[in-house]
Symmetry: none
Subunit: 222 residues, 4 copies
């Protein structure tokens, strides 16, 4: 666990100093919030959602407990923000993957599959945090809403890509393929979390790719 490292200037410094590092002393509001959210992610990954204390989060960020409640009205707000942060991170990775890939639907799909098993997105800590929220989502409409909203969006995009592949006549096939792909990601993530010895990201990715090839071949073949 990170030791509390004073982010603000050395304490010896007179508080009324007008020197240039005064700006440092008060980090931008957003930077502080970001630090706290990342500490929250660490804590949840390490100890679980229910075992994450405000004090742990504060200590992990090298701040005092008071400051957490200063930046987030309540623990619930901090957790909601943390989930939003993860969602956003994933959304950005998604958009970036599409933007960086060639425009043809197959390349786009392959890029998304790759993205979903990249270490930055698909690592045990991140997955543990996602599932901590999923576990609470059953009884927390807020979390469920956040997750659902994104799912709808991703499903729609995947659907669009498969429609490009299968054509208008393959609308139903496209829909099912989109569902399959979305579900495969979730399922693999879950198994990477719960059965890390049996599943590793590289193989999971390759199974997804193989599935995609199969789907496309059957399209081409008959």
């Amino acid at each position: 666990m990170r030791r509390p490292s004073r982010v603000v200037g050395a304490a010896g410094q007179p508080p009324d100093s007008l020197s240039g590092n005064r700006a440092q002393r008060t980090l931008p509001r957003e930077a502080r919030r970001r630090q706290l959210v990342e500490s929250t992610i660490e804590c949840i990954a390490n100890r679980g959602l229910a075992e994450t204390r405000m004090a742990d989060v504060a200590a992990g960020a090298g701040m005092s407990v008071g400051i957490v409640n200063f930046h987030f009205d309540s623990k619930q707000a901090l957790l909601a923000e943390t989930l939003a942060f993860l969602s956003d991170e994933y959304l950005k990775a998604w958009d970036q993957a599409r933007a960086a890939a060639p425009g043809d639907p197959v390349s786009q799909l392959e890029a998304l599959i790759r993205m979903n098993f990249e270490p930055g997105i698909c690592n045990p800590r991140r997955i543990a945090v996602w599932f901590a929220f999923f576990g609470a989502a059953g009884s927390r409409p807020t979390y469920q809403a956040t997750c659902q909203r994104f799912d709808d969006e991703y499903l729609a995009q995947l659907n669009g890509l498969f429609v490009e592949v299968f054509g208008e006549a393959g609308r139903e096939r496209a829909r099912r393929a989109a569902m399959m792909l979305l579900v495969l990601w979730d399922g693999f993530w879950q198994n990477i979390l719960l059965n890390p010895d049996g599943f590793d990201a590289v193989e999971c990715q390759s199974v997804c790719m193989a599935w995609l090839r199969g789907v496309l071949e059957r399209e081409a073949a008959p």
Copy 2:
């Protein structure tokens, strides 16, 4: 030293009261434990794992708080038992599905797919509870172990069935198909939990079936 909690019971009530929800005074040990586990499942489904109080569980079972700790040494023990109960229930459904189906591997696989989306197994309450435990598994080795042990077993059985289908030469294909099927179930469950409007059990089952048919056709075709 504690004072007697109740010197005279709410004994005004006639013993032949019709309020049937009052549990019988004495019941077999296992029956009581079972009642408490089922109340726990209800509570977790309703309020979540972290928000489930011993008092809620007791109230849900129409008992007093003391009796919960009488039958389970601690809240953790109760939760562990609840997960074990769910695991066992699923295992029984699995075995029963296989036993009731014709012996050929395809029938067996179809039976398992059907089982996984049957209302008794795949309903929002049950899934919420499963995911509550998955969410905590990231930080609770006990839960992870319970989940992992079963996963290994199911993966092995699915693998065996697909080997029967694909033959010895298709060992690698069988392995991947087994992983795919396992993962599909998990992924669909997750989406039924998080996006109930977008996914319903019937359609999920049909997508799984379609996937299976596709896998088999490709086996038969070339």
Copy 3:
């Protein structure tokens, strides 16, 4: 810990049996109470007064919890009875020691000193129980009263013996000697309890005897 050994007849036996062992089935009330008191002493010696549970006492006596409350209205009553039992046991040992010794005051005093360090009276378990009650006596007038009443009696008797030795003129000396002896016993007991490595009963007794000899010599000498 003794295992619960059914005192009553084998359960197979018809309850309405009129056979002779029926008398066995229901042990005399006093015998039952005595068993429970002795179990209480064991428990207090092993775990302490505060850590002694009614259930422990019952288990130690091989009975059910219900029977304890049947024989003693409350835990307090059981504890009070236990202290009374110890007091009585000590009183009997005292009287017996005096009765068995020659009538001269010195022999009587020596007999009492010997009695106070006999294994039946002065053993770590008994002492631990005594001090458990002394510790509570500070805040429990009932205990204090029991202890005080006996102390007064013993002090008076010792006083009488020393008056016999010192004569009417030595009334004050007798009073002080009596106090000293009473206090020596208490103090040695305490040290046997708290510092068993530094104090053993045999040496304590011998120091008491030496003190007594000293007192008597000084009487004889000048």
Copy 4:
């Protein structure tokens, strides 16, 4: 997740309130711990060890329950600290008594006797607390260890003083005298606790002094 305990404090009260029994908001860590320990002593004296509740201790110190666990990890830790505090207090009184007295062994011994019956050390409340711990010591090795360690030390010091008096040839007499004195203190304390009507500190002290004079005279006489 817990709801805020108090959204708006009883803030109507002006900060310059005269209710002096309200502790200052922030005080040195040690000062707070000290306050709590002293409240603990009061509680044990009033209600006994087993009947002392954390809430009582907090209330007695004019603080909230939470702060007790903030300064002491558990009730056990608080009690252990309280015993340590008493031990330390006694040790200091002991050392101070010796330091303030003339260097000759007899003066030292007299000073120690006086100290042991001074109101600051030998008062009903303090004694009740000591015996509460002694009573629990039988089943709590921690307490026993604390008591024993000091006893050994005091016995050694007394032994040293009596050796000075009796000379090398009187080693055995010195040892016994040391034991006697230690034991007299304990015994008198016990009787002051249990039989306050029969024993008062002043007379106890005088009996000890008389005993000491007797021991010394016998040394001088023959």
